[in-house]
Symmetry: C3
Subunit: 316 residues, 3 copies
């Protein structure tokens, strides 16, 4: 799409050199063929170094923009970004088995659906009613149980196991809300990457990134009914028990253990070898490695135990 | 079914005019061709105004019944209602694509299943392994991702998106328990209505109503792994983050926001523009609009923050 | 597999009589053709009475072993057990409808998948996109809604109902972790048994046992998005509301009621007729029947209410 067309979509002025735009991205990651946006004061510091071809921006921030980026000035930059995201969402395709490339020794149920452009490695097993979307890539020796769904563009490593009815790559929960309380969808044009030796339980949802990738690193173990929000990163060998929930853009270090029904707010970072007890709720970064936490609000497990003693005393 | 047959099923006396009965309903909503019941003291006030052809009722309450309704006197009215509900449950059908009506520009995967009597509008996309039950109606421009299930009789609006492996219209969790602790299923003969511009995440369950409809209003956004119980009503533009749970018959006003893993007990009403923090638990009606709550038991967010300070002090 | 081959796999010495080994099991349940293991001090007491053909064991515990069992001495018995479990995992098969045995009056959607060796009773309804694995047995009058998955070897009784997208028999969450933090999968070679008159909601996961069976007893009612861990036992007529989670090896007595989003840690026992309020968390055995509990940590409901009064006072 031409940058001039984007200006028309956003109903903003345009009198710069016209270029072909391939997609949208964050200020940090956008290249000279991508459009970015600034919608949050927190990211103002990223404006001056952006390589984006153009930035959706409010009038008061234009002064921070480098000369290499065109300003697309709008009254509500987050809503404008949401509106534009739709134009970069690929058309949903659903084509047949014949179009996929399948390695030696791989068994695909005739009742599975492999979309166009999917590439599956050797010695995999894809059971009935599995859906593998457009351009998905899967390594060797991976097993996908019935009724699991892998959305387009996702990447799955070697030696993975995805249990029945799990969903890899559904849309992250993203929308911009106007001052009448109405929501505009932010199309989630990123993907999910599962590295090697990852096991995902049944009925688990791992959302695709809005830009870039949601990533589950090597050797992780994710149980049933777990929620992983868009743009999260799960560290190597991490363990997430059943019904854990991670909001978007949270990063777990390696060997983090999260007990059943524990959760984290979004945009947080959890140090390696952290353990969170069942039902615990993370609402701040955890910076020091190797500790155990419990409760909501979260506290060190030892403090939590002490608190329970105090509460018991209070009751007497 | 004839009213006399119903009396036979319920093993109760019958010496009134016989009429054809089309279904069951609440005291308030039943019409002159429906049977109702009273099983809870809370609803005694509704007896005198009912239009029901007949009411399943205990002997002591018959005196409140208007003359226009036949009394079906039983020892345990809730169990009797459950027993009768089975007779109004439609036979489960599973017929082929050919019988569905599909609008112009709509793409249906040959691996999807559209049951008899389904009607789908224009420019929809129905992906592989989706199940659309008998008599489902779907508007225009709606996308349903793989392995989603829509049970019979549900209604889905225009511009909706249902992500993979979600379930619209599974049975509400209803049963009557006798004094030996055994349960009799209450067949859930209502439906689910999603209005226009509703987005449902992956692995979410929205249960059908026992009578009438579970309703998700225009512009709502529901994330992954969410539970919406039977007969709930979700207000316009409401937002439910991942793993939220609503028990049956709860009503959210417009623009209510529920954080991840928060929940509500059943039969409650939440005022418009209310925000519930993650993991919060609603156990009473919320009557004033625009406030933010947290914790379980729920309190105003400000009080909850204060409580955490007190608890921190207690620990010193 | 020969015992000598197992010794080779585990890289341990072997100079005993060679026998054919049919599988693995616990010290208590292993027979003279099975291999067992001891990986937890808690189970040392079971060593001396085991009937296992051989036991994977650390050098210091060999002295407790009866002469009828061969010692397979390894440095890390739990990891060795995990490594061996893979060799007893059956090959994943996916064969066609024709090979299943289906009783009179049973309707199976042509879009369902019945694997080889499945046996289904009379008057069942199996809807589209259901997957019934190898050797599954199903009784009479059972209904399985679309996109549900039943893994191999599971047993489902008469008069059951499984709602859409639920999973019966996915792998329990089992692995052994070495001192570099890497995990080895413990193959889950047991099954799930649902007894008669069990109803399972939508998007629920019931994991198969590592050895033996995960069991849901007669007349139980399990709602949507519920997690039942491997080797749990749910008592007759128990009720689990939406989003409840049970970790592995927990036993509920009959008529236990668990409110929405409540949970239990693993390896616990809950007395009959216990009620757990919504969001409550069980972390110890409940020995006395008929009580109601709430909160996390769990306390009697009356104490929990009192605590809330104290907390309200604290806030003033």
């Amino acid at each position: 799409m031409k940058l001039s067309q984007i200006a028309t979509i956003l109903q903003t002025e345009f009198n710069a050199n016209d270029v072909e735009i391939s997609g949208m991205n964050t200020l940090k990651d956008a290249n000279a063929n991508e459009v970015s946006f600034v919608a949050n004061a927190k990211y103002i510091k990223d404006i001056k170094d952006t390589n984006a071809a153009a930035v959706i921006i409010s009038a008061d921030l234009v002064k921070h923009l480098p000369k290499t980026s065109v300003a697309l000035v709008v009254p509500h930059s987050y809503i404008a970004m949401a509106q534009l995201s739709k134009y970069f969402a690929p058309v949903i395709e659903d084509e047949t088995l014949a179009a996929a490339i399948v390695g030696e020794g791989t068994k695909v149920s005739p009742k599975a659906e492999l979309a166009k452009g999917a590439v599956i490695g050797k010695n995999c097993t894809i059971l009935a009613h599995v859906y593998i979307g457009t351009n998905v890539r899967i390594g060797d020796n991976t097993v996908i149980y019935p009724n699991a769904t892998v959305y387009r563009d996702c990447v799955i490593g070697n030696d993975c196991m995805i249990h029945a009815n799990s969903v890899i790559g559904s849309d992250g929960f993203g929308f911009a809300t106007n001052n009448r309380g109405e929501h505009t969808k932010i199309y989630q044009n990123g993907n999910v990457v599962l590295e090697d030796d990852v096991e995902i339980g049944s009925n688990t949802s791992i959302d695709r990134a809005v830009f870039g990738s949601t990533r589950v690193k090597k050797g992780s173990r994710i149980d049933n009914l777990v929620q992983v929000g868009h743009n999260c990163e799960i560290g190597e060998y991490s363990v997430m028990a059943a019904q854990v929930g991670l909001a978007g853009s949270t990063t777990l270090g390696r060997n983090v253990v999260m007990g059943g029904q524990s959760a984290s707010a979004g945009h947080l970072s959890v140090a390696p070898f952290t353990t969170i007890a069942g039902k615990g709720g993370i609402s701040n970064d955890i910076k020091e490695s190797g500790k155990t936490f419990a409760g909501f609000p979260l506290m060190e497990h030892r403090a939590w135990l002490k608190l329970q003693v105090k509460i018991a005393r209070l009751l007497k």
